[in-house]
């Protein structure tokens, strides 16, 4: 896969179709790739990497990148294409300046899962036949790929690219039997006291680092209300439980109907708070109340909070 992507990127750079390539660059370890822009063939050959740990959704970078001179090539996984479409619908990116290569995806790995298995001191990870051989300073171990798969990928909603200029690999289908609302349902089935205790336990860990917000493709405001001293609700730290709730409720509300459920918020949370469960609650409710809606699927479809029907359920 990496070879094919690199080859296409080199070709498109060479024939002038694009002047820059947005992908991932190699890290210190086998799993810590950083999103990067490559401008020359040398840079690409030197640093371009694509593997199962390239989970970052690159679409949000296009807000900035598509406003620069020249066309940029971007590699998007199926779930990233939904974010891309949503950004497009919100006029945040300039389509003409972007060349999208859709790349097939069968789920990304989460190094945290490997570490939770006690794999410390990782020096190498090799993928073969659905298994990872993880080499560490303490010895090596083989792990089934699905055991290391990121939570969000286990509940993948779609393997279909909703937008692309060309594809590398196969285009998949929308996953109709995905189980992404299971945990929401479990929470709904609890008593309010249990739910309160659950969320207190989770949200009290928040350190308000804003990683969830800053990585979120829907959170693309010029300035967030929580950073704006004039908004009247600015807060720099979650001083107490109220502010933790306030930040996460309002953030989820602000992205309701715009969140594509890409799962980046939970991926990046340094405190492992399952933030996606807030967004999924809104998604599940909107589906149930107002009919199925998948943000980013069809940029022309009216979002649930941008329309109404006379017979909507009462609040």
């Amino acid at each position: 896969m990496q070879k094919m992507m690199e080859k296409r990127a080199l070709e498109l750079l060479a024939d002038g179709t694009v002047s820059r390539v947005l992908g991932w660059s190699a890290g210190e370890f086998p799993y810590d790739m950083t999103p990067a822009v490559f401008e020359t063939a040398e840079e690409l050959q030197d640093g371009f990497v694509y593997n199962d740990f390239c989970g970052a959704n690159l679409s949000k970078y296009l807000i900035k990148e598509s406003r620069k001179e020249g066309k940029i090539l971007v590699f998007l996984k199926p779930c990233d294409t939904y974010s891309f479409n949503q950004l497009l619908a919100e006029h945040r990116i300039i389509r003409d300046n972007i060349y999208v290569i859709g790349i097939e995806c069968y789920g990304k790995a989460d190094v945290e899962k490997l570490k939770a298995m006690g794999l410390e001191g990782i020096t190498g990870i090799y993928m073969k036949d659905g298994e990872y051989t993880v080499e560490t300073v303490y010895g090596s171990q083989t792990v089934k790929a699905y055991e290391a798969m990121a939570e969000r990928c286990l509940a993948c909603k779609s393997k279909k690219h909703v937008v692309y200029d060309e594809l590398i690999g196969e285009d998949g289908e929308v996953v109709t039997d995905c189980n992404r609302f299971d945990m929401v349902e479990q929470l709904e089935a609890m008593t309010p006291e249990q739910r309160f205790a659950f969320w207190r336990g989770e949200l009290s860990r928040c350190i308000r680092c804003n990683a969830c917000r800053n990585v979120c493709p829907a959170c693309s405001c010029e300035q967030c209300v929580f950073d704006n001293p004039n908004s009247g609700v600015a807060q720099k730290a979650a001083v107490n439980s109220f502010e933790e709730n306030m930040f996460h409720i309002i953030r989820a509300f602000h992205v309701a109907g715009r969140c594509t459920d890409c799962g980046e918020c939970s991926r990046v949370c340094p405190q492992n708070i399952p933030l996606h469960l807030l967004n999924r609650k809104f998604i599940k409710d909107m589906n149930a109340f107002y009919g199925e809606y998948q943000a980013g699927e069809d940029p022309d479809k009216k979002p649930p909070l941008g329309t109404y029907t006379l017979g909507d359920r009462e609040a």
Partner: protein
Amino acid sequence: MQVTEYKPKIVAFCCNWCSYAGADGAGSARLSYPEEVKIIRVPCSCRVNPMFILRAFQRGADGVIIAGCHPGDCHYTSGNYFTRRRMALLFSMLDYLGIERERTRVEWISAAEGAKFSKTMTEFCATVAALGENKRLEDLRCKK
């Protein structure tokens, strides 16, 4: 020993055209409701931002009610329809977080429904009073 009866704090956001007028109607008809209810006038129920609701709870409110024109009667044609969707989602989310759902409510009260205004507020006050003080969305800094 004097027992002080617990009195909840209720914020009522009322749209200017229907519910605020309904509250005026309740007044004109001398239809009482608990003094715990304090009304904030907004042009339309759709002006009510979820942030205002959370803010009220932070500052010590025990219940928040939004009152607007009946669906179809909005002065701005569509405002209350948006209110209905937004609040349905917000209230469901609060419930999901384990915050008592009964503390929040949306009611449609027309300018002619002074009696309904009074009845709704009385009933809402009783519901909130039964729940007791808002603990789950409180901000201790704002308590005296």
